[in-house]
Subunit: 321 residues, 4 copies
């Protein structure tokens, strides 16, 4: 293999740049050149390939976002678009591809693999909703961003009889909500995997108020039932003893300089992806298990559905006592 | 004067603890003892006075919130409540009072002053909406919290054709929105002092999109017209070329470890307040002008309405070019 | 088991408070009461035991340091001191002990276990030098503190032909130096496990200068050969083309609000320790492997010597290319 | 005036980029084009001028360092170098110059002004040692960096009988040491303006230990007498009851994303500098007083010596009680 390509795709995640750096420098360490493909599959179709030197990726590990940019491409899902993408890869001389992104991006990588292009995936998704790896790139940074928000709210919370409802990311996964809720000491965490009765939430709030709790913090993943806004409205209407305030963190959670753990994970996975390509692997994602990189077949990654982490659910129940 | 009292009131602001520390230690430096009054005027009525030693305020300067807690008291506005408060102050031996808070709190301090209790105010309000001082306690910390959120959104913004609408505090003042908008490079800032036509906002967004701007950041003070939610909805409906995402920071802005500037300002004002009481002053607020503390009559502070800072409005217009 | 005790010992590490919170609340969840023992083994000898309620540990997870304080106790190593400690534990009604700390602290726990007191250890050490666990409490926070320092130095580094030598913690372990060096993009990392020739360091620096590198960052663990100061002095004397500046982070690395990962790890380990005691275990440390808690015999933990992480050494070599 | 030039010179300071952004966009708002001059006076001699568009300075305000880089130029002080610099400015079409930097840089600007080139200075120096302005660019960010270090040390300090000696920047000015020392609650602050007897320092330390203080934090500006290292050594030798640990922050203090206050100050000063040039001014520095920009003659700026801020010295004495 003489040339590899790397792209970032889907929602961006802090640490993607550290992964790109690792891909490029591991390739160079093996005498393999590296091309960056801009804007994910969209750029693959539009032919936006560029040579990445060692210097080009110097200093990028500390930046949020991705220097390669991402995009969602409808065209890639059409036969014409896909064919164009495949043709461009071949024309560029790229013999192996590293795709950094979430489930949707890995789906695309599987299609390319089936079309005969060696492709290895790297899990990048702040939601931690990808199977086959303990952790995805961006999760750690996003957890810390949420935690800082909860900590700040706690500074002010104790002064008032207030319920704070905090909406965090996680359309189908409660990982971020649980991790930050446990760390931050939320009174209740609502996750997509476990729809919760509004009366139960209000009941716990009332009980907490009666026990003399000065405040009540609810962390709600955006895919949860009920939603953060619904909870805020219900609390406001319910005479729970608490006044209700809403915080919606939104895309703040996707940004920020990646943490040490995210940069290290991204480096391990990026290096592991190039190692895998050079070992002749394709159709696999590089995951992390017990501090070691592992290769997991795309089929295994993409059929599964991560349930809520049972350990975290238990810890959350203990900690909120 | 042998004993002073200190309380924090209204919305809490980072730096209030540094101010309490300064009040107590300046008093002690003059051989005057200090009582803390819990939960603002509510605690004054309920008799929640406690001796504050030098050690009791050691290490508190770095914490957000206020160790004395705050509350809003309806009872204080009744003749009975007020009379009880005055009686409790007299009974406690407090001969001079330092009131840290916003306009509402200073109103209360003026009433106490009129009732014969020596009272000096300190401006504490993250909104920077208090007249007679260049800066209030908490503004600097809140500005930085907002700025970090904008910076993080910018990490991810460049990857997508997205408009980000960020609601920040400021019910009647656009100071925070302008300061953070200028620092963070927002494309447009909407402030309460200048109601803005929705068509103008959408027009600027469209023009930016046509000029090739990859993203568009709108910072909106919570008291502005239109509101952040209205703008988000209008953008979503408008086919402006941008997808619209909302961030509502909420009470995150009230928390956090106070910045160096907030701790220093709070220390200057707290020391200045005790200096003023010991010099026989009452019915005044300690403000900061040109790095010096100044005394401003409550009447002057409370009748005025700070207009939007004309310099900031001009800078915002220049910087967004 | 009706009552457990918990203590923190040795150098403090961010996350110890989250672990104390988890120990107390897990105990309470099982109907077991919890005593905190102040100042580690010193307080055990002096009889500083106090009941920890759920509320007493509310909100502590976000604070650095340890509310139980730590100390190093010479007396505990004497037969008299040890006997007094054992007696106090028995008198307090504590039937199981959770000891949070590094190797020295776990040594003590092993002695107590041998003396018939049920004792379970939890690895707390920012150096990540404890065997039997992938990660210790405090490592993640310290890594981020170092990384932020490197990032800040990089802001200024590119303007000048300067070599920056940064001394970080790690008397016998290069983990922190490697993790932060890889994440931060250091040009060379010097670890205790691999003494390095000064000429090699200067040679790499000279080569980097000749290749046009605007700056050169050396991360040095405090136990490494040569030391940070020696390297700074050698660079200054060597006409390497670089001017040399030294940063010594010192105890800054032990502080700070624990990160999300440290709080979560500490919570898992604390809960796991109580689970182990309640299951009748003693003489073991709770470690983390592949996201699961594992129990490792003290003997296994304390005889070993963690070598430098070979994966990190390889990544460091690749990334610095 | 149809074209202005802007350069950053001397030690870099966070906020310089926000100032460059303001200079460029204010110029453009007036229909004036802007050239950036790389590497300060060195680049002026070497002819490193480049056109700065509005987009070229988009998004730079949040980065530490300076996109224009800085350098110290010996050649500029020679008649030949100076003549070359002047010639290059004329050849570039630059009719007015904005020089951002410290005293040395403003000296250079004064020489250019005398040579007939319209030149306006902007104070950029983390030390806050420039006369004629309340505040310089970078001071606020550096203060916060130091404060965070002190806060982190305090987390761990209370656990041990330790004296922490922290060296901070300030070769001739104690501003940073005082501001951070007051905010962080240092037990003693040693500044260059007031040489301090070692016996006095040790005496206060001993007295603190005898009063039961669990730790003792000494903040020392790098230009102070005695130095941080001397104090650490003296404490170690003195049997003061404290163990002594040293932290040397070094160039960490020059980096970091500029704070809200630094970005706003830099924006005001940058806009003010272009306003001044367009109003026909030269030979002046733009300072800030009472939130307004003021113009101060270079001669006034450069002859003076800022004494230690008497207010801060007093506050420090009160707060450490």
């Amino acid at each position: 293999m003489e040339r590899i390509g790397v792209l970032t795709s889907g929602g961006d995640a802090p640490g993607m740049n550290a992964c790109v750096r690792a891909v490029v420098r591991t390739a160079l360490a093996h005498g393999v050149s590296a091309l960056g493909i801009r804007r994910g599959y969209a750029g693959m179709i539009d032919g936006e390939f560029e040579l990445l030197t060692s210097r080009a990726v110097g200093g990028i590990a500390r930046w949020g976002g991705t220097i390669l940019q991402t995009a969602r491409s409808m065209e890639f899902k059409t036969p014409e678009g896909f064919a164009q993408a495949v043709e461009n890869v071949h024309r560029s001389g790229v013999e192996g591809l590293v795709v950094i992104g979430g489930d949707g991006s890995l789906h695309g990588a599987r299609e390319l693999h089936k079309a005969g292009i060696a492709a290895v995936g790297v899990p990048g998704s702040i939601d931690n909703d990808i199977c086959g790896t303990e952790m995805s790139i961006g999760v750690d940074t996003a957890s810390n961003t949420i935690l800082e928000a909860i900590d700040k709210i706690k500074d002010t919370a104790s002064s008032h009889e207030r319920a704070f409802v905090i909406e965090v990311m996680g359309r189908r996964s409660g990982y971020l909500a649980l991790a930050a809720g446990i760390g931050g000491g939320a009174e209740i965490v609502i996750v997509p995997e476990h729809p919760t009765d509004m009366d139960k939430i209000l009941g716990e709030m009332k009980a907490a108020h009666d026990r003399g709790k000065p405040h009540f913090i609810v962390v709600v993943a955006e895919g949860a039932t009920p939603t953060a806004t619904e909870i805020r409205d219900a609390v406001a209407a319910a005479h729970s003893g608490f006044d209700a305030r809403l915080t919606v963190l939104g895309h703040v959670q996707r940004g920020g300089s990646p943490t040490a753990a995210d940069r290290l994970l991204a480096t391990k996975l990026g290096t592991g992806a190039v190692d895998a390509l050079l070992a002749g692997k394709s159709g696999v994602m590089v995951g992390i298990r017990a501090n070691e990189t592992v290769l997991v077949d795309f089929d295994e990654v993409l059929v599964c559905n991560r349930p809520a982490d049972a350990d975290l659910v238990r810890l959350d129940e203990i900690i909120r006592l």
